[in-house]
């Protein structure tokens, strides 16, 4: 990365932060909203403190299962464990509507967000089928046709295939009265394209679709996240010192606390730490970087593209991956976009320019569909950290009343907040004949 590019990104990042607060007023947000964390970065990192969370059952029969998507695929030995796609289900013992959940970037079918959503929908009487994000290592290995993920339409096709194959097995066990789909973050973005694909394929005829904190433009969002990594004090080469500092603060809090782990604990730590916004941003960026590093390497191996691994080189389960780990941690997602993702798909469609490609990886590219598809609703936060200034306006403009914008919550920080969980469920059950 050249110095000029970095400087430009930094300036753009600063502008984004400076102007972000000015744009909040442009969108109507939900009134009487008591989510407690008003700082957008803190909300994103901390989530929802326990006293504010929705009351959900402690445990539900949420079981992990696996399915082979591509039986002929020879899985590279370095990913020997990933041949079968893992997913989770929570099934009612009577006929019921079914909801598919799609996880966000780098997250799994049984990560904490999907698990909480599964509880909410299971409690509301739904069969729940939860799948990992197409950017999750196991999904890339087992279920991505090209291995090169992050593509709006291709990911939707992969997800749709997975839904169809899972349903082909489940239909022997359960009866579904309707099909529905939701997802958060990138999963919300995926849900929009999956819904559009369903209009052609008609395997499910989705009844309702909910997009939770989706990005508008993938490129804008990954650029924002890449810039946050640059907020690590001293840059990525001081990553270990930064993490060390955080971990020390974290453990000093957990010494006092009986139960380290939950969002309540994070909230306490956050209050004790008094982290600056840049540091919180760096933390968000770092977490994104760790998952994107893994993703980029996985894609490179699956497609044998020669991005960080020499093309043609076969790795096995004992191979030393040190260099790939170190190199990929130092690469932004925008690097992947320009040097791997775009060239890979341009090879299929040589006339496509970089700008056209970027534009196609956006909800704007299906704006008309989203505007007319009354079954789709969305919920977002005006202070979402993965949206460029002003981007939030896209949702009320396109969805009208079907968009609900909360005044706080950052990126997905309020997903466990009681009002939001109630909203999520109501988006599917309201008007439903009981």
């Amino acid at each position: 990365m050249t110095i000029t590019k970095t400087t430009q990104q930094l300036i753009a990042g600063l502008c984004a932060l400076l102007f972000a607060s000015l744009t909040f007023a442009a969108v109507n947000t939900v009134a009487d909203y008591d989510y407690p964390i008003k700082d957008r970065f803190a909300a994103t990192v901390v989530g929802t403190p326990e006293g504010y969370q929705a009351k959900l059952p402690e445990s539900i029969p949420f079981k992990s299962r696996s399915i082979v998507i591509f039986p002929e695929r020879v899985t590279p030995d370095v990913f020997f464990y990933g041949h079968e796609l893992l997913y989770s289900v929570a099934l009612q013992d009577h006929e019921a509507p079914l909801i598919f959940l799609i996880a966000g970037t780098g997250a799994s079918h049984n990560g904490s967000k999907n698990t909480n959503m599964a509880k909410a929908f299971y409690q509301a009487g739904y069969h729940v089928v939860s799948v990992s994000s197409p950017t999750y290592n196991n999904f890339v290995i087992a279920a991505s046709k090209t291995g090169v993920v992050g593509h709006a339409e291709r990911d939707a096709e992969d997800i749709y295939r997975v839904f169809e194959m899972i349903w082909a097995e489940l239909k022997n066990e359960i009866t579904a009265t309707s099909f529905n789909v939701t997802g958060y973050s990138l999963g919300g973005f995926n849900a929009a394209f999956v819904s559009k694909l369903d209009e052609e394929r008609k395997s499910f005829n989705f009844k309702r679709v909910l997009l939770i904190n989706p990005p508008v433009s993938l490129y804008n969002s990954i650029s924002l996240l890449d810039r946050m990594t640059q907020d690590i004090p001293g840059g990525i080469n001081n990553f270990d010192k930064f993490v060390d500092k955080l971990m020390r603060a974290y453990t000093s809090t957990y010494e006092e606390s009986a139960d380290a782990g939950g969002e309540d604990f994070l909230y306490k730590t956050y209050k004790a730490l008094k982290l600056k916004d840049e540091e919180l941003g760096a933390l968000i960026g770092t977490s994104f970087r760790v998952s994107s590093a893994s993703l980029v390497f996985t894609s490179d191996v699956m497609a044998d593209y020669g991005y960080i691994k020499p093309k043609g080189l076969t790795l096995n389960r004992y191979s030393n991956l040190r260099v790939y780990n170190e190199v990929s941690l130092r690469l932004g997602f925008t690097d992947y976009y320009h040097e791997f993702f775009y060239p890979f798909y341009k090879a299929e469609e040589p006339s496509m320019t970089r700008d056209q490609f970027i534009a196609s990886m956006s909800l704007k590219s299906i704006e008309e569909y989203l505007h007319n598809a009354k079954k789709i609703t969305m919920m977002g936060n005006v202070d979402d950290v993965i949206l460029e200034p002003g981007e939030i306006e896209f949702f009320p403009r396109v969805f009208g009343d079907r968009a609900t914008i909360y005044p706080y919550g950052g990126h997905c920080g309020n997903m466990n907040y009681r009002d939001n969980v109630a909203h999520m469920v109501a988006a599917f059950t309201e008007g439903e004949i009981q």
Binding site: Y81, I236, R248, E256, N316, V323, E326
Partner: protein, 254 residues
């Protein structure tokens, strides 16, 4: 993360190095392949060696460790997890909690001993208080009264005691059946196991002692949420290695 780490060490099964299979040697000849777009030369600081890595851990035995890691994964899938699932089906939740409390009481005993060895009065007080309360009012440790009384639960083992007195972690070590460790902590398990087994055979009748020996690894695995290759990282070996080492460093420091 705490849950990943705390249970990876299951200090009851004996060390048995027999089972690590010897697969093909993974010597990559990168020279014979075209250079990728982003090479180490282009991205990493010049003269960076593996100890300058972002997630550096001293691991001279990586080849052997990876084979043991792989063995542990297969053992976990084929033997350990099925047993745990059976245990969870057969024994009701309240019984399993009692079993966990019982073993935690013996862990508190280790914390007591090691806090004494580190001359740390606060931790010694807390762990002693816990053992006394739980062994009596708590019916031989089956009920965790101490936690209900808000007595904090520090955790100290002999590896930490060695670390406290200045012993470095030494090379990273994956122990068969038990999982991630390092030379210091691995050796530290021996005196810990000795103390525990001595006390156990002292206070428990032989059949009970034998039963607990069988139950301990099952209970520990049941309380460990870690599942191999389900955390989404393509670099799991490195990630676990780094998390383990960092956690142990912080454990010693605090």
């Amino acid at each position: 993360m705490k849950s990943i780490l705390q249970g990876l060490s299951i200090p009851v099964l004996a060390l048995a190095l027999g089972a690590c299979s010897s697969g093909p040697q993974p010597q990559e000849q990168a020279e014979s392949y075209p250079e990728p777009i982003f090479t180490a030369k282009r991205l990493l600081p010049p003269e960076q060696d593996d100890l300058d890595d972002l997630t550096a851990v001293y691991d001279p035995w990586e080849g052997m460790n990876k084979r043991i890691y792989n063995f542990n994964y297969h053992f976990d899938q084929a033997v350990f997890l099925p047993i745990v699932r059976g245990y969870e089906t057969v024994v009701p939740k309240i019984g399993r909690t009692g079993v966990s409390n019982f073993f935690n009481n013996f862990e508190d005993l280790l914390t007591m001993v090691n806090s004494a060895l580190q001359l740390r009065p606060k931790k010694l007080l807390h762990s002693t208080g816990r053992v006394l309360v739980n062994s009596t009012v708590g019916l031989f440790g089956l009920v965790d009264v101490a936690t209900a009384m808000d007595i904090p639960r520090p955790m100290e083992d002999f590896g930490q005691t060695l670390g406290f007195w200045g012993t470095p972690q030494g090379p990273y070590l994956v122990i068969p059946f038990l999982g991630p460790s390092n030379l210091r902590d691995g050796l530290g398990k021996i005196p810990d196991a000795y103390v525990q087994s001595t006390v156990k055979s002292e206070v428990l009748s032989e059949p009970v002692d034998l039963t607990t020996t069988v139950l301990y690894p099952i209970d520990t695995r049941a309380n460990t949420s870690f599942r191999y290759y389900e955390n989404g990282s393509a670099f799991e070996y490195q990630m676990v290695r780094w998390l383990y080492s960092t956690k142990r460093k912080l454990d010693v420091d605090q």
